[in-house]
Amino acid sequence: MTARHHYPVPAPRLATGLALGLIAFTVAAVLLRRPTAPRPRFDAPPLARARASGGWRHSFVGRTVTVSRPRKDVYDAWRDFMTFPAFMENVESVHVLDETRSRWTINAPGGAAVTLDVRMTEDRPSELIAWETVPDAPVQSSGEVRFADAPGGRGTTISLRLEYDPPLGAIGKAAAKLFQREPAIQARRELKRFKQWMETGEVAISSATTTAASLAN
């Protein structure tokens, strides 16, 4: 080994070239890969499957919880959605307009409240409630809740599915997520509160200063 350290090729340029080449190769390999044969569906449950096949524009919320109460009790409680403001932090008010339509005021991203008219599209006692916003609502969304017996006498499973078009697209959705106001986060939390309400008669709160605390009063 000589004392002088003399690089035969400018090393930094070589390294950069290699890195870029590797990236280009990988990108090309991914984009140009031969289309594979359609894969069998196997046993993925519906909500997880729907999320996996979702696109960019449409936002999807899927969540399942188990409530240790009989299916009819759980359906009855959910069907009585006028009571939701009592234990759901982000549902300000619910007014029934007629047999199928109701007016909901909910907290939206950015702190403002949004009022939506919603139409119930299906109501199968102890099985399914489905709804969608009316055509001229400020945000388009639809959803359903399915009720099923949980295995092993554990009670009832509720599967909530919510789809909506985020007003400002993917960017708006990301911003809303940052401020914890995004519908997926909201829905998840309200479903948890519904479960707490059904199983314990109250909503868990740790601080007197949260809005949830004012619900208890």
């Binding site: 309200e190 707490q196 007197a208």
Partner: protein
């Protein structure tokens, strides 16, 4: 009221804060007569548990007198003297029904539960005074504390038992008991316990009650090792002898049948792997230093049981999964299902079969709580357990 609040790494202060109030009808308000500083409080003190906010009240080992009850707080009434489990359990979810109270699904507020769900896969239950991961509930190192689900948690204790005799039912005694129970002790078994803090000492005591033929205690603080010996364990100082070698010799070459990691994520010592962990923790590349756990896994006999009451929060490096698998070890761990053990342990205390007072080294007024933390963190040989007495304020340190 006065309360011990967190303000940052190694910065706890006794502040004046709002009194708690009934927020839900199953709540009760307790006037705290005795409350202890826990080894896991030191993780909060050292700033290694995330989601703490300045002003959070600490403390999850507490007892006292019921001064107010909500309309649905069960049979609890004003004047009842109670010890409160550090785990908040609703008593009616899937997990509570299975007696897995520290996994309660309904005690962590929905807006807080996301954090632990993201970190661990499912949400943690609510705990008192242990960061917003566990719900942000104000703790009991204070004059008063709000206790949710008061019809489920608090246990009434007889007036003829002093506070010091029953306080540890709130956490460390059932924790040591569950740690020993998780060892599934059989006749002739040797149990090795890493860590002679309060949990380790109660685990030693419990293991002997459960019939272990030999209990070996491992630590480096002489006073703590002495306490372990007084309980009936054989003591090993890891600064003086190779633990693995000693354990093999003491078990006829087989290794201990069960091992207990009562150390948790802030292991001490200057072993090479621990120094590596210290370095990575400083660079925030690792959240725990599992040196004691690695040793325990290494020393446990093939086919043996590993019981981990020691607290861990995130991720550790260089975990010997190979040793675990190839030796066919069973691991049992978790936050204590306190409610499961309370009646039995209270009975044993009544019958004088368990003594909990031996490890209390200091009793201080609440106003000196910050000093208590400092001693517990830095003078671990002399400071085995600090109990705070909020009522001593009023009688000028009686």
């Amino acid at each position: 009221m006065r309360a011990l609040t967190w303000h940052g790494k190694k910065d706890v202060r006794v502040d004046t804060v709002d009194d708690p109030s009934i927020l839900n009808s199953r709540d009760a308000i307790i006037k705290v007569t005795s409350t202890a500083i826990c080894g896991s409080d030191l993780h909060l003190y050292d700033g290694v548990i995330p989601t703490m906010q300045a002003g959070d009240i600490l403390g999850h080992e507490f007892m006292g007198e019921v001064v107010e009850v909500g309309s649905k707080a069960g049979t609890l009434k004003k004047g009842d003297r109670v010890v409160v489990p550090f785990v908040i359990a609703c008593g009616s979810c899937f997990f509570c029904n299975k007696q897995q109270f520290s996994a309660c699904d309904n005690s962590n507020p929905a807006e807080k539960a996301d954090m632990s769900e993201t970190l661990y896969g499912q949400q943690m239950s609510g705990l008192f005074g242990y960061s917003h991961l566990t719900g942000g509930y104000p703790g009991g190192q204070a004059e008063f504390v709000r206790v949710p689900f008061a019809d489920v948690g608090p246990i009434i204790v007889d007036d003829d038992l002093d506070d010091d005799e029953v306080l540890f039912l709130s956490d460390i005694l059932p924790t040591g008991w569950m740690a020993a129970s998780n060892c599934e002790i059989e006749e002739g078994d040797t149990v090795a316990v890493w860590g002679c803090g309060p949990v380790g000492l109660f685990a030693i005591q419990s293991a002997l009650i459960m019939g272990a033929a030999q209990v070996i205690a491992i630590d480096h603080y002489p006073h703590r090792l002495e306490l372990a010996r007084q309980l009936g364990a054989k003591a090993l100082d890891f600064e003086q002898v190779d633990i693995h070698e000693a354990l093999l010799e003491m078990t006829g070459g087989i290794g201990p049948d069960a091992v207990i990691d009562a150390v948790g994520l802030e292991s001490h010592g200057f072993a090479l792997d621990n120094l590596y962990d210290y370095a990575k923790q400083t660079l925030m590349l690792e959240t725990g230093r599992p040196h004691a756990l690695r040793q325990a896994l290494f020393s446990c006999r093939k086919g043996g049981r590993v019981s981990i009451p020691g607290v861990y929060g995130g991720f550790v490096d260089k975990f010997p999964i190979g040793a675990l698998m190839e030796k066919g070890l069973t691991v049992r761990t978790g936050q204590t299902h306190v409610h499961r053990y309370l009646p039995e342990l209270l009975e044993r205390i009544r019958e004088r079969k368990i003594d909990t007072t031996f490890l209390i080294s200091h009793r201080l007024p609440l106003e000196q709580a910050a000093e208590g933390y400092r001693m517990f963190a830095n003078e671990q040989n002399e400071t085995t357990k600090v109990v705070l007495k909020p009522e001593w304020e009023k009688t000028n340190g009686q």
